[in-house]
């Protein structure tokens, strides 16, 4: 298997990861599509630097999340205030069961967090261990624990404010 074939196989295996990161950092379908393409392009460009020391998915999360930040910069949109309508407008064929409402509620909470906390919470939602979160973000494992505690408190406060 040559390099390109290995890469394509790796992308196919981790397609869900890319889509989830892209969805987490964007508010429209168009933006998400752009970001998915950009992530794949950047993953390919830096594929040689993947040194096998960390797992493939750890490396992919790192690159994808970094690209997502640059995408925020490029798109010139303020992710804290942009409305989220239409994010899942092409999902009507499935039974949403109030899914969009739940998604909006989730985003409202997450959008109030800073970029670092958002990254940590994304990885937490992805069931990553504190060790993996530390590897991807570059902060210490104990710091991840502290931050998780603070994020939890922040979210509680935000919810209480809303009620």
């Amino acid at each position: 298997m040559d390099k390109k074939e290995t890469f394509i196989a790796a992308i196919k295996d981790n397609e869900g990861l890319i889509y989830k990161v892209a969805s987490f950092y964007t508010n429209t379908i168009e933006d998400r599509k752009d970001l998915v393409q950009e992530i794949i392009y950047q993953l390919w460009k830096s594929f040689d630097s993947f040194n096998q020391k960390s797992g493939l998915s750890t490396w992919m999360y790192r690159v994808a999340m970094n690209v997502a930040i640059y995408h925020l910069k490029i798109s010139k949109r303020n992710f804290l205030t942009v409305p989220m309508d239409g994010q899942f407008s092409n999902l009507h064929e499935t039974d949403n069961g109030g899914f969009e409402e739940k998604w909006k509620a989730l985003r409202q909470q997450l959008d109030k967090l800073n970029l670092l906390d958002r990254g940590i919470i994304l990885l937490y939602l992805e069931n990553k261990s504190y060790e993996e979160i530390a590897q991807i973000t570059g902060i210490s494992e104990s710091n991840v624990g502290t931050k998780m505690f603070r994020i939890k408190e922040k979210l509680k406060k935000q919810i209480n404010k809303q009620l």
Binding site: K4, F7, I8, K12, E15, G16, Y19, K20, S23, D31, D34, Q37, E38, I40, Y41, Q42, W44, K45, S46, W59, R62, V63, M65, N66, V67, I69, Y70, H71, L72, K73, I74, S75, N78, L80, F88, N90, L91, T94, N96, F99, K102, W103, A105, L106, Q109, N114, L116, G119, Y124, L125, E126, N127, I136, T137, G138, I139, K152, L155, K156, I159
Partner: protein, 198 residues
Amino acid sequence: MELDDLKNTWKGIDNQLKNQQNLNPKMIDQMTKTKYYSSLKKIAYSEIIGILLCFAGAAYVALNFGKLDTTFLQGVGIVSILLLLTLSVISVISLRQFSMKENVNEPYAETVKVFAITKLRFHKFQRINITLSYLLLVITIILLSKFFGGNDITDSKYFWVFSFSFGYIFLLFYSKWVMKYYNKTLKQTEELLLELQP
């Protein structure tokens, strides 16, 4: 909504997204070859057009400098050229900030830090840019009336009354808007940077 609720909602998103995943090997291959990321191009084009317009404006004033027959108008002409060139430089710097030169393999926290610093710098440039644009607007009115009407508009007392009163109103609203809009995001960004300090 507790973290466990968030997790359940995220799981739902995961299921929904699975229906949208349709990358095939051909598409992935294309994405590795062509950088067809449109948003960047759109922004780059608009910035480049802005830069070209500024240069064209500066060249026009320089070529017609002879029509400016008073010391005041000549001073205005020089200031307009300097302003147009400054605005171009600011645009070039802003444009360079969009380039993805940084290493995408860096840890996420490092990228967040770079992003926050760039954001603060960008906001500063934006403030300067808009303030200079207002000044350029006043200067353009003076120069255009001279170049195309042959009149020195500054002789009219109405010009000064209107330009100053409108200018004051503009700056009043602008500064209020800037304070309201930027202070919150700048504060958040500064807090984030403090959080990221070792």
